[in-house]
């Protein structure tokens, strides 16, 4: 199949039932392009050759016929596909500045949430998109150097460990893939993106806020202003291909933070966190 996620078309091949089932669950509203549509990436998830097909079976992700990373247990087939798709973009999409960040939109304005793993970024993103924010991406913000806008991907939101149950309670109507345990990241599930996000996946948005989230159990939700210089440096450090862009990347990030209000954000409970960010969006 040729799966469209925003501007990117990926040809996905797999004979694994788990892949078909997961795609049918969390990608069921996405556009499947015709077989003769140009594909940006060609990937495959399959059992590796040899004994690992049957003995403690594994799966391997292939990009253009070659595996960029090691196989994983077969139960992690969909997870390896999602991680592989992330790798495809971060390693190859150099027509965008690719920032490790969640990004959501409200009223045409994008909220960038750059943060390292474990910061609560994806949980917060999942919460926001279940409360009137549009999902652009939970993991990779694609910043277009020509327009300065963020281009959506609208792919499933990756949830880990305790966040899975948090989102099940926060959004009982959300559709989640089956939970896979014992991955390198612990237990993992993927939340189907809201239908509106998928339907509007070709609508970019101009950045208006840069918010660095940090989950801290028991903490009250609090926004603290962050200097633009500090925000710039954190965005640069979070951008996979900032060195590739050179001066253009520098100018792009500088213009981005100039146009944004920047904050650090600590939160311990999702409902109040979402409320604080709704107030932020309502201010201006």
């Amino acid at each position: 199949m040729r799966l469209r996620t925003g501007p990117i078309v990926t040809r996905i091949r797999s004979e694994l039932p788990a892949i078909a089932q997961a795609l049918g669950t969390v990608y069921r509203e996405h556009i499947i392009e015709a077989p003769d549509t140009f594909a940006d990436f060609h990937v495959r998830v399959a059992h590796p050759a040899g004994l690992r097909r049957w003995l403690k079976p594994q799966v391997v992700f292939e990009f253009d016929g070659a595996p960029p990373f090691l196989p994983l247990p077969a139960e992690q087939a969909f997870a390896i596909l999602e991680w592989g798709l992330n790798w495809c973009i971060s390693a190859n999409c150099h027509h965008y500045l690719v920032i490790h960040a969640a990004v959501v939109e409200r009223s045409g304005r994008a909220l960038l949430l750059p943060a390292p793993p474990g910061s609560g970024k994806s949980t917060l993103c999942a919460g926001l998109v279940n409360r009137d924010w549009r999902l652009l991406s939970d993991e990779l913000a694609l910043l277009d150097p020509l327009s300065g806008s963020v281009v959506p991907l609208a792919r499933p939101v990756s949830l880990k460990n305790a966040s899975i149950e948090v989102i099940r309670r926060f959004a009982p109507g959300a559709v989640l893939s089956a939970t896979v345990h014992d991955t390198l990241k612990g237990s993992v599930a993927h939340m189907k993106p809201p239908g509106e996000a998928v339907r509007r996946a070709l609508e970019p948005a101009r950045p208006r806020w840069v918010v660095m989230p940090r989950y801290q159990a028991g903490a009250a939700a609090q926004l603290r202003p962050l200097s633009r210089g500090s925000a710039f440096m954190q965005l640069a450090e979070s951008a996979f291909n900032y060195p590739v862009f050179g001066r253009q990347g520098f100018e792009l990030l500088a213009s981005t933070v100039e146009a944004c209000d920047c904050y650090e954000f600590t939160y311990g409970e999702l409902e109040s966190a979402v409320g604080i960010l709704a107030e932020l969006a309502a201010e201006k």
């Binding site: 200097s227 210089g229 500090s230 710039f232 900032y242 001066r247 520098f250 100018e251 100039e258």
Partner: protein
Amino acid sequence: MRWRIATADKLNWRRFGEEIVVRSEHTGSTHHLDSLAAELLHTLLTAEAALSADELAVRLAGEQEPPPELSPSIEATLLEFRRLGIAEPSD
């Protein structure tokens, strides 16, 4: 010793209030400068000629007499700029 920006056409910079972010095309590194370092860089970027630490101190102090510790702080910062490839001695 007088100092100047090292290859000014190879420095990308942007000022945000009292901060400056600067990238050297020579090294590819990006740096975040605030307070004294930012003012120092901005002064060098806009200067017509190379300046000594004492001359920079006078400019940064404005109408006030430069405090005695300012020149040594500037010298230390200029040495750091040199290490980062941002500034260089002109003589």
